[in-house]
Symmetry: C2
Subunit: 197 residues, 2 copies
């Protein structure tokens, strides 16, 4: 997705060989027009998958996921990272380790919002080690619903998440695939196209 | 806002005299068309305020705030509830006590995204005791920017938050004002109109 790649090149800050900071348009400050374009792109890539629900993980996934949900006219559920007092019964949960934050979060979803007839599109802002995406997949499968695809805004293709997901047979669409952050520079993977089994 | 009131009556669950659960359309599952309508309504109410930035607090504020940002074509910043490893220098912070979760969170914002020339619209999903809104106001004022208004999706008008904010002279617009949750029933305040000093 050219608009997104341009934004990453123009505004992304390479902090190390592993860490790309995109807090000016994606995960702290958000560019709503870019989020809308991202939503339209996901909607177009998954439009023939008979999706019935979209899920994401708070907080940075909510923007792109909400815009996709708006385009596809479908409900969005955002999984929470901790239990809250007003959301505490009949939860589905999974453990997710964050390498960035070096901590394990329990991510939770109310069972009542997913049924076994649901075909679910999982959206997230980043794919690196794949732990968050795998946790979301686990939530959907605990509800006996079907994972119809995973849409990622920025995939760090030099990390293992993409392979972990596609090796299990899931459809993955990443709008920008970064091959390397070496020498303080963002290099995109040549193949931006979808990875399917 | 009639559409919102109808949704609250149809789908809101009164858990106690203090707690209204709206997790089917606002703060766990989200209705994107309703969020879009909420965004259009906020945009219309604040369109003459020369807003330059919108801020909210993760996570439930992001939906309505992003839709407002899209309508007004302005950047959105969401304040975070904890410091992350990749977002750790030159932060503005404030302490916010959550009565629901019975804990104090430090909310933070990168100083670089707000300047003293900014006119900021604060958006949040709920206003009850006003602690989150006051924390967001504090962040804006630490950056020496101007708070141009506060937009709330659902105000529990029987709690003190609204008065705390308007008594300080801030413009507050709440799209639904709940007068009482007694007898398991939602009663809206007669005046839905804006509270100004």
């Amino acid at each position: 997705m050219e608009l997104l790649q341009k934004k990453i090149v123009d505004e992304g800050i390479v902090l190390s060989e592993d860490v790309l900071k995109v807090d000016s348009f994606l995960n702290h400050q958000m560019d709503p027009k870019l989020m809308q374009a991202v939503g339209k792109e996901f909607a177009s890539r998954f439009q023939d998958k008979k999706i019935t629900k979209i899920i994401t993980l708070e907080s940075s996934g909510i923007g792109p996921a909400l815009m996709t949900a708006l385009e596809l006219d479908l409900p969005l559920i955002f999984a929470r990272k901790r239990k809250s007092l007003t959301l505490n019964h009949d939860l589905i949960s999974a453990s997710v380790y964050s390498f960035t934050k070096q901590e394990t979060n329990e991510i939770t979803l109310s069972r009542k919002f997913l049924s076994k007839d649901d075909h679910v599109l999982i959206i997230d802002d980043f794919l690196a080690n794949g732990q968050a995406a795998l946790g979301l997949i686990e939530l959907v499968e605990q509800a006996e619903a079907t994972v119809s695809g995973i849409g990622i805004v920025i995939e760090k293709a030099f990390q293992q998440g993409g392979a972990l997901i596609t090796d299990k047979g899931y459809l993955l669409e990443s709008l920008a695939r970064i091959e390397s952050l070496r020498d303080g520079k963002v290099t995109f993977a040549k193949s931006e196209s979808k990875q399917t089994i």
